[in-house]
Amino acid sequence: MDKKRILITGTRKGIGAFLASYYADRGFQVIGCSRGEPEWEVEGYRHFSLDVSDERRVVEMFAVIREEYGGLDILVNNAGVASMNHILLTPCTTVRKILDTNVTGTFLFCREAAKLMQRGEFGRIVNFATVATPLKLEGEAIYAASKAAVVSLTEVLARELAPFGITVNAVGPTPVKTDLIRSVPKEKMDALLERQAIRRFGQMEDISNVIDFFIKPESNFITGQVIYLGGV
């Protein structure tokens, strides 16, 4: 069987870097992107440096994927930014930045990936939600709202893309020890973990486990679902 082609966004560091290496190790053809070049190297990995909300650059990248890989099987929309702040202290520039990356970026990649996937009548899209949305975390208003939009997008796209054999699901991680939560005070983190059914930080493997489930060929009847980790 041909190697599956997987595109992962936000691969420069954190969860995205882990996923790129994880799927390359498992024989996938891995394509990734982020605003900067990654500081790591994995055989069989191809990187594009771009902003996920830059439509022109994103469309150009997908044209290269179409030409050089002949299509795409899986998209993992991992790229995301967060900013912890009280609403009274949140500048509009921060709001736009978060919405651009988390919502516009996810939308753009879903759209362009689905264009490639629909030709093969097979596709798996996995978006990234967050437990901050169902937990209604104070200080995370815009981040949680942006990810609520991603959940809505996931649910509606699942229906729009089902006729093309494309499933669209989302994984909602708990906090994982990455740069995204580096600046969050420890007592806030402890309070958050207390609200999970299973009170620990998420591991990278917890996330790849859910993605593995969504992208399996046998998961062709699973779409429009959000799996939150930790029992949230």
């Binding site: 469309v59 264009k115 629909q118 030709r119 009548e121 006729p163 093309f164």
Partner: protein, 100 residues
Amino acid sequence: MAADSRITNALFSAIDELNDIRPQDQQLEKSLDTVLFGQDGKLDSIGLVSFIVAAEQKIAQETGRSITLADERAMSQKNSPFRTVGTLADYCSILLAEGE
């Protein structure tokens, strides 16, 4: 308006691509008169989406230019540009001319 041959080629090429995955009894004819959508149209809404995606890609390959066929403007036209291959070719010509 006479359709630019590059546009006609692109749209016929999009029809080829669509025909590859359509049953024999639902093949689209490569003609400017082929009715795509609406009364007596050969495509349902999902088929039209696939055709527009293929057409945008083929036009980009043929002309080196990227156009968006299904925007608010296309949807608000009194006469749908997606009615026949010919009307779509004319609409593509207008979009490409505007971008020059």
